[in-house]
Symmetry: C2
Subunit: 310 residues, 2 copies
């Protein structure tokens, strides 16, 4: 058994339009890289490099990766210590699952170093415990896709019920990350406690249509279904130029477009790589007009678990 | 071309649990039988026999069948009159699409007699116009399954977007109709204008799970998903002994159970005919204890359009 492992844990898009708070999918990039090594103590030592690390606590129980490992080791009743070097490729507050990736990479790597006592699905609750340090609540819509890959439905939290959705072969994802930060907790506070029954029914119908569209690779149905009546109407005000950026994506051929997580990232689906690229260029230009630089990530939906690097 | 036709238009179950206001399915029975004959005038003459006809108006524009035909003929700009004899097999106020069946049978039959100028899907809006006379609003969740067969998702009304859902081969439906009447309009008034965002998210997750369960013939997932957080909590008080009846269905092996339409009918799903029968007997006994006689209808989901009888 090795004493050291290097893990790539991908970012993810949660609140996938009509799937607010119950759908998320995994990206190829950006990702966090975690190098985890057993040490000779029972201590967890965290160190970080990379993007947006200034405000991330290194105290293990306040760090998403640290807390996730603590949760896992407590479950396994194991006293082993680990050194965890995190290279943040996903800046916090970006809306593409930064804290989830660190938590997922940490438990995935530690589980490997312990010779896989738990299945990936069993690691989910520990990743969630880690991510909760940053998000302030137990959420699975970033953690589950980052850990399991693919497009994930969280049907229920009590009990936790996670279902993988078939993915159309030709589906491409474009994600744009502007140089701008939104606090997840603040974005959550904006949400209404109540919604109109009519909107709620529409949203259920749209998510059902979205699922059937994915199952049948029916891009037109996916497109018709991609409307979020819960979060987008209030949260779009947090993102400079959101409407113009979304319109540019749709004009460039996007099947649908929405806020990734609680923003400021924005995702769009398309059915060709060329269109995915065109959408990215268009959104980048639109953000430029708002005075914001941005990064674009284009890939198919990542259907893999975290990758073990050499 | 014949001058006369006889149509069997099936009842249907709307508000299928987590699919409140957006899912409905077609039954084999009960059904309305409509005998439609061209006459030598431009008038529509309605006559009725059968169950619960006392309060159904015969004036065409106030009758669901009559109004549906008026809507269709107006669209086609045709002045032909028809005699419509309706044998009501589905009593009004039963919650299994009584008014929808009459409206559907009427336009389906008239369209046949006119040599099918419209497709079945095109008949939908005219059936809806007919059903609106009784229900007080434009709904498709009884009309669409009765007209097209199967399990139907109404993704949206504006524009109307209707999608057929694959049906697990082994799925059986048990419907019980007690001798008790609920007014659809009153049941609609009971509904809250607003629902908690949390409940709305749960309902979207459950409907998504329900759809995936149907697609994958995953009865366990269907079962876990069959919870209605919108209507059942308030409407169950309208049905004497609802909780006991639902519990008896679940104890007898039902995958799920809920109010059919706005009640008082109750539907349950199971994965064997024998279990479907057992569920029916159990629910019938439970209604007896409430002092109510009842009828039980057992079938697979009816995947056919209205039937033309000899």
């Amino acid at each position: 058994m090795s004493n050291s492992i290097k893990i790539k844990a991908s970012g993810s898009v949660a609140n996938v339009s009509c799937g607010f708070d119950c759908l998320g999918y995994s990206l190829d990039s950006p990702a966090d890289i975690l190098e985890i090594t057993k040490n000779n103590s029972s201590k967890i030592n965290i160190s970080m490099t990379g993007l947006g690390i200034e405000n991330i606590p290194l105290i293990p129980k306040k760090n998403t990766a640290g807390k996730a490992i603590i949760s896992l080791l407590s479950k396994l009743n194991i006293n082993q210590g680990f050194n965890v070097k995190i290279e943040k490729g996903i800046p916090p507050g970006s809306g593409i699952g930064s804290s989830a990736s660190s938590a997922v990479g940490a438990v995935y790597g530690v589980n490997q170093l312990l010779d896989n006592p738990l299945t990936s699905r069993e690691l989910l609750v520990h990743s969630m415990a880690g991510e909760a340090v940053a998000s302030g609540g137990f959420h699975a819509d970033n953690v589950a896709p980052s850990l399991l890959g693919g497009m994930i439905l969280i049907r229920s939290y009590k009990p936790l019920d996670i279902i993988q959705i078939p993915i159309p072969e030709k589906l491409w994802s474009t994600v744009i990350l502007p140089n701008y930060t939104i606090n997840t907790k603040d974005a959550r506070k904006m949400l209404p406690d109540q919604v109109a029954l009519k909107s709620a029914v529409n949203q259920t119908g749209n998510l059902a249509g979205f699922i059937l569209g994915f199952v049948n690779s029916d891009f037109n149905l996916i497109s018709r279904s991609m409307k979020d009546l819960f979060a987008e109407p209030v949260r779009q005000t947090l993102i400079p130029g959101f409407k113009r950026i979304k319109n540019s994506a749709l004009e460039n051929g996007a099947i649908g477009c929405g806020i990734s997580g609680s923003g400021p990232s924005i995702f769009a689906f398309s059915n060709e790589k060329e269109i995915a690229n065109k959408i990215g260029i268009g959104m980048k230009n639109a953000f430029s007009k708002e005075g914001l630089s941005s990064k674009v990530y284009i890939s198919k939906i990542n259907q893999n678990e975290p990758r073990i690097l050499d």
